[in-house]
């Protein structure tokens, strides 16, 4: 199945649009359905599709394991760090109001940063899970 050119071409064509759709879902979450989780899963799906068609090794070249692990941690750091930033600016944990002068701007900014953290972690974990399962070598 992997050698079928139709799959290869279709997956290559789809790769970009899926990621763009993922980014749209990520940053449009304030206005329509969507947000970090869904976006993370969608972007991960693009990479999973690539791995499924071109093989796990190719997929790992595209997104090495150390990047996946770092992005996983980075997402948590971005989300948790936002809370620390609020504390340093003199508000309660995860209070976005000190981020900007106008309350709605602050709220938008806070939500975008936080959703970005969610998206990064979910993306990396979902891809990491797939790689771990697909690349598992049972001991004989």
């Amino acid at each position: 199945m992997r050698d079928n050119p139709v799959f290869k071409i279709v997956s290559k064509i789809l790769f970009g649009p899926i990621i763009i759709y993922g980014l749209y879902v990520q940053f449009h979450g304030d206005y329509g359905p969507g947000g970090g989780f869904q976006a993370g899963v969608i972007v991960a799906a693009a990479f999973i599709l690539y791995s499924m068609i071109y093989g796990l090794e190719e997929g790992r070249k595209l997104m090495p394991d150390w990047i996946i692990r770092s992005v996983m941690a980075l997402g948590v750091l971005v989300f948790g760090g936002t809370g620390i930033a609020s504390i340093l600016l003199g508000a309660n944990y995860l209070d976005y109001s000190p981020f900007a002068y106008k309350i709605y701007k602050a709220q938008h900014l806070g939500i975008i940063i936080v959703e970005l953290g969610v998206g990064l972690t979910v993306f990396a974990v979902m891809l990491g899970l797939f790689n771990a399962f697909a690349g598992f070598k049972p001991h004989k």
Binding site: S70, I84, D95
Partner: protein
């Protein structure tokens, strides 16, 4: 000032962020150092928190600045501030112990990630102890469950049965958590709120109905699974006995205790309006179940030859003592329960740590036949182990005595001699299994040379730190007793 105001949030946030960093560190040693430093910071913050609570009585921390029914709050009063301190203290000691012990049971490459998961487990325990929001509790419950399961499964490096124990915990824990979520759903439908204090107010306002009561029942059932209360304890013995020793000592010491605290909070704090039902539950369900737990755990421990499993079974009995104290439904009963939560956490932590060192010494699982004479070969650890064992029975001058004393005091208040006899009998039975261990380890000749040259100081030092605290609390028990009484005051008022 910035820090002091935000301690409740930082207690959870700092270990969480630290775990993200630790998971990326290349060296096991640096990862351990980072984790240990984090737990020290948490201990410092916990001490600060105790200071704040002793002057202000209660504290409510609103996340994102959103006031209670709309946002998530952490609630601190004299009922849980000592629990937070306990978790912080035990996590420091257990991390210290992990330096030697975890490295021997887990591959070096995995250690940084293991320490990251370890920190997540600690952070979730802080969250569980402080949260005042019913759904937020579920989230922490799941972080705690997933991180514990990972750590337990790592015991499969030594014994493949750890995998089965972890899987069982996952399934049973998930059923428990889902029951809890169902309960929260019913309660939310009945009251429209998720904040525990607000739920109480709303129930007083709207009146309770069948839905709210069922909701409470399911929440309690879910929590009981996590707390290892008798009929739903089935995941506990295997999970504690096959986990790496450092993990067993951390989990056995504090993981169930936090769930029990929350169990008490739900029972005594939330449903003021339906006292009759709570009374019924305590007297006709919780009390018989606790007595069963005490005898089941103790008798099963007598017939058990695997040390870790034996102490896990004894944990079920000890949890039985705590729930029994709660079921007396009196001020002194609740204080006795909280005193025993603290003392038992220290005692069981020390015992599991010591057993881990013995197992390391002989290079295989610690069982009645493999442990012959090991006490003579490892005298320093064994001495600490014996003292902790005496505390478990409740010998005077140890912390365990204080627990038993207050338990008996609470029972005498009810004037029921039958209970006194029951508890006394169970204490005598617990002497049996501890004597069996002592006999095997000290009175028999050693059968094989140790696998290690001498007892590792970094491993027995934590045991002795715990034992030291147990002995101090046995003599200068004022702080522990006042914490128990403070907890009872916070939950049911100063009756």
């Amino acid at each position: 000032m910035l820090i002091l105001d935000n301690i409740p949030a930082l207690l959870v946030a700092i270990p969480l962020l630290a775990s993200a960093v630790v998971s990326l560190l290349p060296s096991a040693r640096i990862a351990w150092g980072f984790a240990f430093f984090t737990t020290l910071i948490c201990l410092y913050m916990a001490f600060e928190l105790v200071g704040i609570i002793s002057s202000t009585q209660a504290l409510s921390y609103a996340f994102g600045g959103w006031e209670p029914p709309w946002g998530i709050v952490f609630v601190l009063d004299s009922a849980n501030v000592y629990l937070v301190l306990l978790v912080a203290f035990v996590s420091v000691i257990a991390t210290l112990y992990a330096y030697t012990m975890l490295a021997r049971e887990i591959a070096v490459e995995d250690l940084p990630k293991a320490y990251a998961v370890w920190l997540l487990a600690i952070a979730s325990l802080f969250g569980l102890a402080m949260t005042g929001d019913a759904f937020n509790l579920f989230v922490f419950l799941e972080i705690s469950a997933l991180s514990s399961i990972t750590l337990i499964a790592l015991g499969a490096g030594q014994d493949r049965r750890a995998l089965l124990a972890a899987y069982n915990y996952l399934i049973i824990g998930a059923i428990g958590a889902t029951f809890y979520v169902i309960g929260v759903g019913y309660l939310y439908a009945a009251t429209g709120s998720l904040n525990l204090i607000d739920i109480t107010d709303r129930l007083n306002e709207l009146g309770t109905n069948q839905a709210a009561i069922t909701g409470l029942a399911f929440m309690l059932a879910g929590i009981m699974v996590k707390a290892g209360v008798f009929p739903v304890h089935i995941w506990l013995p295997a999970a504690y006995s096959y986990a790496p020793s450092a993990v067993s000592s951390l989990l056995a010491a504090v993981a169930t205790k936090v769930a029990i605290y929350y169990f008490a909070r739900l029972l005594f704090g939330i449903f003021i309006d339906i006292t009759q039902l709570v009374d019924f539950f305590l007297l006709y369900i919780l009390m018989p179940v606790s007595v069963l737990a005490i005898f089941y755990g103790t008798i099963a421990a007598i017939y058990q030859s695997d040390f870790k499993r034996l102490f896990a079974l004894s944990s079920i009995a000890q949890i039985g003592y705590i729930t029994f104290a709660f079921s007396l439904n009196s001020h002194s009963g609740i204080s006795a329960g909280f005193i025993h939560i603290i003392n038992h956490a220290l005692i069981k932590g020390a015992l599991f740590m010591a057993v881990g060192i013995f197992a390391l010494g002989i290079g295989s699982r610690a069982t009645m036949s493999s442990m012959q004479g090991v006490g003579r070969q490892m005298p320093i650890t064994f001495a600490g182990f014996v003292l902790a064992g005496l505390a478990l029975i409740g010998v005077p001058l140890t912390a365990g005595f204080i627990s038993k004393l207050y338990l008996f005091k609470a029972i005498f208040e009810t004037g029921n001699g039958f209970y006194v006899a029951l508890i006394a009998l169970s204490s005598v039975l617990s002497v049996l299994y501890l004597w069996k261990i002592f006999e095997v380890m000290w009175l028999k000749e050693p059968v094989q040379p140790l696998k290690i040259d001498k007892e590792p100081a970094s491993a027995y030092l934590p045991v002795w730190l715990m034992v030291g605290v147990i002995m101090i609390f046995g003599v200068y028990s004022g702080e522990v007793i006042s914490s128990g009484i403070g907890a009872a005051n916070a939950l049911i008022g100063a009756r």
